[in-house]
């Protein structure tokens, strides 16, 4: 079980959270301009690295807020936690 440090509530068990997948996936600026291939990438393709990964979590059982986590998918080690809207820490 992951111990996830919520930026508002502090470290809590993974079971209190809902996983939201890859972070920083922006809705297309001009949806009508996208080709089928670009739509496919936006809808169906997400990074799946074996290593550091920026992802979203929601603290559903407490503050109910979304935030971002950089976690290493090879070790599950959490390198950084930051609030939605903040940029990903460079070192993480």
């Amino acid at each position: 079980m992951l111990l996830i440090p919520c930026p508002w509530c502090g470290p809590r068990d993974e079971a209190e959270f809902h996983y939201g997948g890859q972070a920083h996936v922006a809705y297309p600026d001009d949806p009508a301009a996208l080709s089928d291939t670009e739509w496919a990438r936006y809808l169906f393709f997400r990074d799946n690295p074996k290593g550091p990964f920026a992802e979203r979590w929601n603290h559903t059982a407490a503050c109910r807020r979304w935030f971002n986590v950089v976690r290493d998918t090879a070790t599950n080690e959490i390198h950084a936690v930051y609030r939605t809207g903040e940029t990903r820490p460079v070192s993480a």
Binding site: D36, A40, N48
Partner: protein, 406 residues
């Protein structure tokens, strides 16, 4: 079946040759799919200059970590096509490989716990029958006849309202299946090379040329990926992005028990799948852990949930002890269907995205993938499972019938 009836193995099942500097076909990944593909390439297409490269040991990935459920009662025509082809091959596989695989057609019940479940299940039974797949809809009392230990009382949180039943479904001994394919492929001249990790894929002018490995460079006429949980990692080596996410998937077994469970029971709604292995362990699986990860271990709360579900369905398990738990890494696709076919790189082929349910496909996909590799174009049964479907939108959306289930 008791333990002393389990078959003996020969001392050696395959040779461990040094890799040559070049092969007609290099298969990345020595799980069931890689081994079956090598076997059918040799047997059906006469291609024997093949190396299967495995970074660990043969069948050390998901192949011998799964809960071994085999069925073909999928909803859509495309899925019914490939899984039923596979089931037919399972039915003759022991004889074909000349090796015991303990395929036991003890049937599978997929339980329904809500009116929504009931409607979807009945629809699936009808769809299965139209596709020539054996399927029946059973009410709660009939469920109890097939599997007397299922609790069909209406007084539980998710009562059993009925089930689909596929009598030809069942289980097989997964490690024997891998060894059977390995032995038969090796006998036809395929080189099975363990402890050889592919670390790079050389692509020149849009065509694959070689793989880089921990044992050096190996030139290849064709390269076929069969790396299950690591598909994204190996795909990227050739610049090919795949629409899959890697997740831990856990399973567990109990201590050995007397035969109590005559069939396979699956419940998507409460997330548990149970059968009893030939030796007597209860074998249970659940859903994936929510987050992506390459760690072959998941969280304890998943096991707790699956045990709670199992206990409500099978009160008789209350005193069974968990003997061991483990995890695998599965690659899950957006439409819960696999990706099998060509890639944007010439002579590079992909087989991935089987998620939680690819064991049952082992002979069927090996057969179709071998055809795809040999001919440079998909077999009719895997044509719909192309990478392009995510661009064309022709998805094979099996969430209803597959989702987290096996």
């Amino acid at each position: 079946m008791s333990t002393d009836e389990l078959p003996e193995h020969p001392d050696r099942l395959w040779n461990s040759p040094e890799p040559k500097s070049s092969y007609d076909v290099v298969i990345v990944g020595g799980g069931g799919h890689g081994l079956a593909t090598a076997y059918y390439l040799a047997k059906n297409h006469g291609i024997t200059d093949i190396a299967v490269l495995e970074k660990g040991w043969l069948a050390g990935g998901n192949m011998a970590r799964n809960t071994t459920i085999i069925r073909s009662n999928y909803l859509w025509d495309e899925s019914a096509g490939i899984y039923e082809h596979s089931l037919k091959l399972w039915e003759g596989l022991e004889e074909d490989l000349g090796y015991p695989i303990l395929f036991s057609q003890r049937g599978v019940l997929n339980l329904a716990h809500s009116m929504q479940d009931v409607r979807e299940s009945v629809r699936r039974v009808n769809a299965n029958r139209l596709n020539g797949v054996d399927a029946e809809w059973l009410g709660p009392e009939e469920v109890k006849e097939v599997c007397p230990i299922v609790n069909v009382s209406p007084d539980v949180r998710y009562p059993v309202l009925g089930a689909t039943y596929q009598p030809r479904a069942g289980i097989a001994k997964h490690d024997y299946v891998a060894w059977g394919f390995a032995r038969a492929a090796a006998a036809m001249g395929v080189d099975l090379i363990e402890h050889c990790e592919v670390t790079g894929i050389d692509v020149v002018d849009g065509r694959v040329r070689a793989v880089q490995t921990t044992g050096g460079r190996i030139a290849a006429g064709k390269v076929a990926l069969c790396a299950a949980g690591h598909s994204s990692v190996v795909g990227r080596m050739a610049g090919v992005e795949l629409p899959v996410q890697s997740h831990p998937l856990q399973a567990l077994v109990s201590e050995l028990l007397e035969p109590v469970h005559p069939t396979v029971v699956m419940s998507n709604a409460v997330h548990v799948y149970v059968s009893q292995a030939h030796k007597g362990e209860l074998v249970m699986g659940a859903g994936i852990d929510a987050y992506t990860s390459y760690r072959q271990r998941g969280a304890f709360h998943i096991i707790e949930q699956q045990m709670a579900a199992a206990l409500e369905l099978f009160p008789v398990f209350a005193r069974a002890h968990v003997l061991r738990t483990w995890g695998g890494v599965v690659d899950v696709s957006p439409d819960a269907s696999p990706v099998v076919g060509l890639t944007p790189v010439d002579e590079l082929y992909v087989n991935c995205g089987w998620g939680t349910g690819g064991f049952k496909a082992t002979p069927g996909v090996g057969w179709c993938y071998a055809h795809t590799i040999a001919h440079g174009e998909p077999h009719p049964l895997n044509a719909a499972f192309s990478l392009e479907r995510f661009t064309t939108g022709a998805l094979v959306d099996e969430h209803g019938a597959a989702a987290v289930a096996h």
